[in-house]
């Protein structure tokens, strides 16, 4: 077996083994599902038919749109036989409850979870973009104007030691709870420091001989920056990005715990847990993990493309 194949199969085998162990232990010790649902229940939740409802809407596409925009689960999956039967043939059903019209749409819980994930992912990515821009800009400025290093570094460290739990509600107040920008701001502050400090390290930890070579050609500051410092900083910028990628999803979800639109993943998880739909909450957590891993892999791929010369890729 080739080495790269082994690198894929080994973790997969361990994952499968862990899932099987999890399932057996939960069954064997009869663990309550609010403590830990079985993996099969979580997966089943992603596949099963659930009932979701939106506000009154006349046509099917409108119902789906409302689903995507501000869905909420109205029933935990127990349907009257009539509704069940109707949904066998139709994709959706409309019936009146207490003077309002409620749509029952056939679909799995995956749909709302994915919609919520997409919403939160956009917050995470937006925050990552802003945090990266800010971090790189400050790192460049502190390299260019050495004096600014002493001036800016304390603020960067202060930003880094700011407890995100305390910071999140403030951002929600500033930008509005439903405004995705409030979560982006949280993510920005969270990832600013790892990006800034890693980039700065790469920019200033230039080999002294390499620098002398530039001086021997009478290269100017900007030539040294573009031809030496920035290429030298790219590997550590990518290490910073990997840390930031993991933090970004966490930051967005934690921000949503303190309030956000119903469509957000953090809100979804809190609500599902509050309604004792633990399998559904766990399913959302697992999707969040998968997204985190995907972000990491995308950064890894970008790194591979951007740094074909880097020692990590030497064969």
């Amino acid at each position: 077996m080739s080495e790269s194949r082994q690198r894929i199969w080994a973790p997969l085998l361990i994952l499968v083994a862990l899932v099987i162990l999890w399932e057996t232990l939960v069954t064997a010790f009869n663990i309550q599902q609010f403590l830990l649902p079985k993996p099969s229940a979580i997966l089943g939740n992603l596949a099963q038919v659930v009932v979701t409802g939106g506000t009154a809407s006349a046509d099917e596409s409108g119902a789906e749109r409302s689903l995507n925009n501000r869905f909420f689960v109205v029933l935990p999956g127990r349907l009257t036989p009539e509704v069940e039967e109707h949904l066998q043939s139709a994709r959706w059903l409309e019936f009146p409850i207490g003077g309002r019209s409620v749509h029952v749409v056939r679909g799995s819980n995956l749909t709302p979870i994915l919609a919520a994930s997409w919403f939160t992912l956009k917050e995470a990515l937006g925050g990552m973009a802003m945090g990266t821009l800010a971090g790189v800009a400050v790192a460049l400025a502190t390299t260019r104007w050495t004096a600014s290093r002493e001036a800016l570094l304390p603020f960067a460290i202060a930003a880094n030691s700011m407890p995100i739990i305390a910071f999140a509600p403030i951002m929600n107040n500033w930008f509005g709870i439903d405004n995705p920008f409030s979560k982006m701001a949280i993510v920005t502050v969270m990832i600013f420091f790892p990006i800034m400090i890693n980039t700065l390290r790469g920019l200033i930890s230039v080999d002294s001989r390499s620098l002398e070579l530039m001086h021997s050609y009478a290269a100017g500051d900007s030539e040294i920056l573009f031809k030496l410092r920035i290429p030298n900083a790219l590997p550590s910028l990518f290490s910073g990005l990997k840390v930031a990628g993991a933090l970004a999803m966490i930051g967005a979800i934690v921000g949503e715990y303190f309030g956000g639109p119903r469509i957000a993943l953090g809100v979804f998880i809190t609500q599902e847990a509050a309604l004792f739909r633990f399998a559904s909450a766990w399913a959302a957590i697992i999707v969040a993990c998968l997204i985190g891993i995907t972000i990491y892999l995308v950064i890894l791929l970008a790194e591979r493309l951007a740094l074909p010369w880097h020692p990590t890729f030497r064969k």
């Binding site: 002398e212 070579l213 530039m214 021997s216 050609y217 031809k227 010369w309 030497r314």
Partner: protein, 267 residues
């Protein structure tokens, strides 16, 4: 007579501070190097050869004394891009391919695209690395990396070449071939070379002058004119005068070191 290319007057270099840490790397260096001289520096490890080269190249400032290069300050000479330097370590940029590394000075000096390509091509041929143009430095052996560094220094035909043990990591055959190539370039371009080496044979074969240094403090202890006929070639090595000069340099080294490090140096 044209004015000398390099003039060093009473140059001292002291590293470190406080009596404990101070190292006198150079002491009272007085040196004049004429246009198109080929000067070798030889001396035991740590005697200040690299330091002297770096003072000439304006990469470090002397603690005292004056340096005049091409009739101007060393700093001005550096800003005028008079120097081509081959460092003791290859100092290639990891993110640049072999060809791109050779091109670095050409890029900085705004050579036209076609000129850049032409020179890169010619230099890679010279150091026999054409097939490795697209490789990255880590894919090369130490000797190959050093050859890239040599190609890079020669590519823009600097008026002064400062070479710090450029052939140290090479096998004997490559070394001899590059010795001849270097002499070729030196003759053709009229450049002035300061060349650090640990090999007495190489110093005598290449140079018009061999300067012997002693350690702690680094001083010039002998300045030996090499009056072998030009151009140098394989016959040079069998010239009786060649052996006499080799012996002269070896004796000068022995005296400067009290005989201690001579066997190491001449090995």
């Amino acid at each position: 007579m044209t004015e000398p290319v390099v003039v060093l007057e009473n140059v001292d270099k002291i590293f470190g501070e406080g009596a404990e840490d101070q190292v006198q790397a150079l002491q009272e260096i007085n040196l004049q190097i004429e246009q198109n001289d080929f000067v070798s520096l030889i001396g035991p490890s740590g005697c200040g050869k690299s330091t002297l080269l770096r003072v000439v190249g304006d990469l470090i400032q002397p603690s005292s004394g004056d340096t005049t290069i091409n009739g101007k300050s060393a700093r001005q000479a550096r800003l005028d891009q008079d120097y081509g330097i081959v460092f003791q370590a290859a100092t290639l940029y990891d993110w640049r391919t072999v060809a791109k590394n050779v091109q670095l000075p050409l890029e900085l000096m705004q050579f036209s695209r076609s000129e850049k390509d032409r020179r890169t091509q010619a230099m890679l041929e010279l150091v026999e690395l054409t097939d490795f143009a697209a490789h990255f430095p880590w894919q090369l052996s130490g000797g190959m990396q050093q050859r890239v560094a040599i190609a890079r220094a020669l590519s823009f035909e600097p008026s002064i070449l400062l070479m710090d043990e450029p052939f140290g990591a090479l096998d004997e055959m490559t070394r001899e071939r590059l010795n001849l190539e270097l002499l070729n370039i030196w003759r053709k371009t009229g450049t002035t070379v300061i060349f650090v080496t640990h090999s007495i044979t190489e110093a005598v074969f290449l140079s018009t002058r061999v300067i012997v240094m002693s350690a702690r403090p680094g001083r010039i202890t002998a300045d030996i004119a090499i009056d072998l006929p030009q151009p140098r070639n394989s016959e040079t090595r069998s010239n009786v005068r060649f052996f006499e000069l080799e012996t002269e340099v070896r004796d000068a080294l022995r005296i400067s070191e009290g005989g201690r490090e001579v066997s190491q140096v001449s090995a």
